[in-house]
Amino acid sequence: MATRLPNVDVLVVGFGWTGAIVAQELTEAGLNVLALERGTWRDTPIDFAPTFDQDELRYYWRHELFEPLAHETLTIRNDASQTALPMRRLGSFLPGINVGGAGVHWNGQIWRFLPSDFVARTHNVSRYGKAAVPDDMTIQDWGVTYQELEPHYDTFEYICGASGKAGNLKGQIQAGGNPFEGPRSREYPNPPMAMSYPPTLFAGAATQLGHKPFPHPAANMSRPYTNPLGVQLGACTYCGFCEKFGCGNYSKSSAQTTILPVLMRKPNFTLKTESEVVKLNLDSTGKRVVSATYVDASGQEFEQPADLVVLCAYILHNVRLLLLSGIGKPYDPQTGQGVIGKNYAYQITSSVNVFFDDKILNPFIGAGAHGMILDEWNGDNFDHSGKGFIGGGYVGVVQTGARPIETHPTPEGTPKWGSGFKQAVAKYYLRAMSIATHGAVMSHRGNYLDLDPTYRDVYGRPLLRMTFDFTDNEHRMSDYITDRAAEVARAMNPASIKVNYRKGSWDVVPYQTTHNTGGAMMGSDPKSSAVNRYLQSWDVPNLFIMGSSAFPQNPGYNPTGTVAALAYWSAQAIRETYLKAPGPLVQA
């Protein structure tokens, strides 16, 4: 029997990046906010201290910072002809857990989407005609514009201390920045990171070919920084242990290093850890969430009532909780009806390895977003006519480090074992680098999330089932931008290159990105979206759903910047409009 607890103004479910953003914004409005996190507390000086933090075996390979699959996993298949099976080892993506969520172990690659990304359907149809968007490519416009989000991108970049160079200031293209980006109102809060040899070589070759390389926008500090909340971050040391690791130098933006020091002191904010929300409870009309049921570490159940619930549990858990709680109409891929679980998307990546005999690259010098990028083939930055795909991605060298167990590139033709292999590994560790491509995934009617019919979690609830594969659109696009990457690689005059196209079906085994998106998408029409443009549930107006679950499809950039901008945009709507008159913010 669940113990019923006293009501709170706002319940935040999950305490990662968006949980921290929303809790900070709503406590500022004077509300009593309670956050429930199923994981544990963690903070920089205790959990990521540099005395032990750069431990590749413990964190990179043994996954200490990531979601423990023994507690919860999902089942995966490429398409409906297959039986989905539980993912028993993390591979393709690495969901987080514990306070700060995946924001603790991300690289800090902090992007804005293009203005055209937010109107992908309208834009592509108007430029290339209806045939450019096949019937089963279920992309949609977002219902919000880049211009509306611009101030919130800016807010997040300043909270984070993002390091970069503006490419478009209020419409004026700036040398050294991304000439394709949407207009921004002011410069980055910190200058770009200092570039090591590999991104410098790449940028030189790219420039010779007539392209416009620019520094990767980085939530790694290029210098000590105090953010608008008074929270201090340290200068990045380029230690090369960013992605998959916590940062002990206070130099990677995360909830801990940007918001929590201020938020946790507030008397109107409470955090309960090891409290796992298992269901959102609706009233008899089904139009109001009245409470969340959660389970604590000893297995006791509690019912937590709240006036307003904000779901911040990461796209996968957001969608699963909606399905388990009976909120919104589940998507049926056969009929195309329903929205919860619809338009799940991901990222398609590839790489070109570049080998030198005559250069020492010191690849171990690295940081999560330390690199030089080309945006010429992202979004609709180039003419897609006749190419057979829409969308694109960025191409660049992001030197995140060269951790020793992970890093052993060898040129084409190297034996896969034995003394020849060992010689090549020893020689090329210091002499190899990689150009990466990071491409968009358009939504498809066959790519979706639902509840598994067979497999259940420790509480007896069905696991989430992911049905996903790349389509021809993605493969054509990825091959195209991989060829562009190979051109730059050759222009670097290397000893050899190795072009690694992304081939075949999506494979859950090798790590690619943790850029899962969709399943509770935003839009202008309740028939084809789960949340309105303010991330408010169409079905349950006192429920807001944060995260990349809102994306109708996934553009060619990392999602966190947009996830955060949407959180700030939504929080502003809650503060300025919803609180004054609780109810639907958009009339359907």
């Binding site: 544990t40 963690r42 201290a49 540099p50 032990f52 340290g234 002990g248 929590l260 309960k272």
Partner: protein
Amino acid sequence: MSRRGLTAAFAGLALAGLVAAAALHPGPARSQAAPAPAEPQLVARGAYLTAAGDCQACHTAPGGQPFAGGLPVKTPFGTIVSANITPGGIGDWTPDQFYRALHQGVDDEGKHLYPAFPYNYYTLLTRADSDAIFAYLKTLPASSNHPNRDQLPFPFNIRFFVRFWNMLFLKEGPFQPNPGKSAEWNRGAYLVEALGHCQACHTPSNFLGGPKRGQAFRGGAFPGWFAPDLTPNRRTGLGSWSRADLIEFLKTGRNAHAQASGEMGEVVADSTSHLTDADLDAIATYVTDRPASPAVQVKAPEPAVMRQGEAIFVDSCSACHRMDGRGTPRFFPPLVGDANLQQRDPTTILRFIEGGVATTPTPSAPTPLAMPAYGWKLTDDQVAAVATFVRNSWGNAAPPVSAGQAAKVRKALTFGPGPTGAAQQHGRLAHPGPETWSTPNTMSSDNGGANAGRAAPAGAGSGAGNGGSSQGHPAG
């Protein structure tokens, strides 16, 4: 608590005090009338003076009610436990008795108090200030804590012998202003000597535990700590600090040169950050007006030790403190010219290296900054080498550190039980063994403080947690 919070707190307490005082009926055995309710201004003044005197630091046990006593204070003679000075402990004292305690170091029954209670400084307080402090303490919520205060071994448990200590070291007050100095200097002297009792830590003491004559403010040694030289010595004292540096430090706990931590962090948080700007100015005037301590003779360190220390520094320290030792002011303290680093007695920096150190977050500087502990990673030789290296690089010069000194500090570092109940060898800043990994059901209000990550009390919506699970993951 911030000054504003303190003021708000007293306002509530004063009202409570008015009600409580009315309820405090003396029994028929006493001939006096019920005490008149305290005036709000007197209580407010008393609250300020109590903060300036930092009574809370000693009279509060960890996790205990403020001023309710029970804190064990280690002295070379044994452990002394502080008294409950809420109305539950001294509620039936008179103002005369309270003044006698501060002035002469005796309690309401005339028994000697141990000079761990620094009455040899508080004796300088005026009677009016004593009354104000007493009036404030009377407004505190009464705690029924009655700690066992007689824990000293023979012969120190015989309080009578304190009389002899007093003959040597107690010069009864009140404070006599120096007519040759400004009013501001005298106010500073009163704040430092009568209230702040800074010399109790920052002046060397002799084997009897009394201050050494003629060595005022030249630094004091304690188990696991060395309170640094506060004379104008440019290397070991405050000589390279500006007046503004000193005031900023006392007010906020940090300046471009240093950050308060540990004991001094508490002093800033509980005491000096509550003082008015005028009082901080006065303290600066007084503290800076004295001769510098003599330069410490420094034997040049061995080149082999410096090479070993440098190698360790590059690997383990330079990420924050930088290769040039300049750190990031007000964040990662600069080591260049750092006075605390160059004390003749290296205990404090050995403690920092072996046990780590955390600064106390404040509303204006909320980031919970800490240096991790290296004691589990470095041997005594290695600790000594890196300590010698930083003490003698970038223009620093201080006596080399020996492995024996590092070993002694390692033994002196004792921390209470960790979240699972097991004693922690190096405190919460060490290598995260099971006792330092994240704990269940943590309380948000603890973040940034010494208790960050501690388990929420039972009944806060959760049952007994899965203490210190080896992966920091939820149960199940």
